[in-house]
Symmetry: C2
């Protein structure tokens, strides 16, 4: 089973209200030194069998057609990944 990641971000010139909201919340929570935040979307697609060039081309096309809105968003990454993303650390506070 292969796995492809697609990253979609708002175009730089587009207003990003979600990113702005996070950027203004950071200092309130004590996280200082950040000059900006942009928020996009990340997709993990699993495919039958290996990720061939043909599969990547199909994913690229699906990314522009279905996974993103080309008017306000850019597809910034389409890449095979070895396995499903793992949580960074298990120590989530109880």
């Amino acid at each position: 089973m292969g796995r492809v990641v697609v990253d979609v971000m708002p175009k730089p010139e587009i207003l990003d209200p979600q990113g702005k909201a996070v950027a203004s919340a950071l200092p309130r929570l004590g996280f200082t030194g950040f000059t900006g935040v942009r928020q996009g979307r990340r997709f993990e697609l699993t495919v039958d069998g290996p990720v061939t060039d043909e599969v990547l081309a199909t994913v690229r096309e699906a990314a522009v057609t279905l996974l993103s809105n080309p008017v306000i968003e850019d597809v910034v990454r389409v890449a095979e990944v070895a396995e499903a993303a793992e949580p960074l650390d298990e120590g989530t506070p109880a």
Copy 2:
């Protein structure tokens, strides 16, 4: 100016309605061979100055505290990136 990317994905055991909606739309649009889709969020944070270990630790903490909901989501990546994500290709159909 430094730049850090944070990727947040739904926990595997959590129902992902958005991912399911995309997964069912793919074959309808002629994109076959996909066994599943998961949809998460991608953040790009810009910082004053270089990305030090201290900055990465702050971003990791902000990722768990503010950027994700630890009950239903995992932070799967916190990494410095060289520059802002660029669109994959300029040839967006007119």
